[in-house]
Assembly symmetry: C2
Homo-oligomer: 144 residues x 2
DNA sequence: GGAGTATGCTTACCGGTGCTAATCAACGGG
DNA sequence: CCCGTTGATTAGCACCGGTAAGCATACTCC
């Protein structure tokens, strides 16, 4: 077991560095600079799960509600989301995509993370499969 | 090939989200709050590759020189690195770890990314192997 | 050897991201 | 009807990265 523990420690170290550098790169390498990665993530979630309250959205993105509030404010300022009062609970607000956001997401889907897709396409199928698995594992780790 | 392209697009999407959430989690889940992840990464690089100039350090971490300058200033303020003039080129500065930093890194190695290690240890060996591979691939992607 | 260019670090400034604490409105149970 | 809870927001802080510009030093070319 000592071997496993050692390996795990080394893995933790390397994985941490790799993820840091990679996410830095992801953030900077974007072509479309009009919307940030954080904003895009929020829009994607809305697209996938439909209209929801800021709190729910924060839950999905695993950030605190105040952080999501700022994102929503920014997106509303850009005309990408709408805020409508909740039908029964007047404390809540319902955030939904605007047609402009739908168009942006479609456009984004077309250009589909240009840099990253290109990079991934150049990898071997085995490496892609590894990343696919790793994405699942990291998402579980982020959630758990 | 259409299939592969589609898969790649989906992978790019999922991988992006997973990495974002995971790195967010990594940043927050740290126990030792005295040094930030960025600082720790710089110290690790110095430990691994030895004393170097701020520019080289920035290259390793894949950030711009001004960003590294700030990190170095902070680390110097904490007594974790020393700045000595370059022997032949007086424009350059040589950054090196202080004994305090060595001690900190040893301590850090002991506690070794507590949360992450724990999480990783709970995974199956196969999942760990996947992450190990993924770490390599992501590092290559970040560099390339 | 001096002028002009290139390099390396730093300063100044800006924007994005996330957090906690505190505030305010509205809901809902007792 | 009062009070605790919940949801969203505001205020303030810290971290992290980038660009543009300044400045000293090194190098190159005539």
């Amino acid at each position: 077991m000592a071997r496993t523990t050692l390996d795990t420690a080394a893995l933790a170290h390397d994985l941490r560095l790799a993820v840091m550098r990679f996410s830095r790169r992801l953030r900077n390498q974007r072509v479309d600079t009009s919307v940030t990665l954080t904003h895009l993530a929020a829009l994607s979630t809305l697209k996938r799960h439909g209209a929801m309250s800021p709190g729910e959205l924060a839950g999905h993105e695993r950030v605190q509600p105040p952080s999501m509030t700022r994102v929503v404010v920014a997106l509303e300022g850009k005309g990408l989301v709408s805020r409508t009062p909740h039908p029964t609970d007047r404390r809540q607000v319902v955030i939904d995509l605007t047609p402009a956001a739908e168009a942006l997401l479609t456009e984004e889907a077309r250009a589909r993370e240009a840099w990253l897709s290109g990079q991934l396409h150049a990898l071997s199928p085995e490496d892609r499969a590894t990343l696919r698995e790793a994405a699942r594992i990291m998402d579980d780790l982020a959630s758990g």
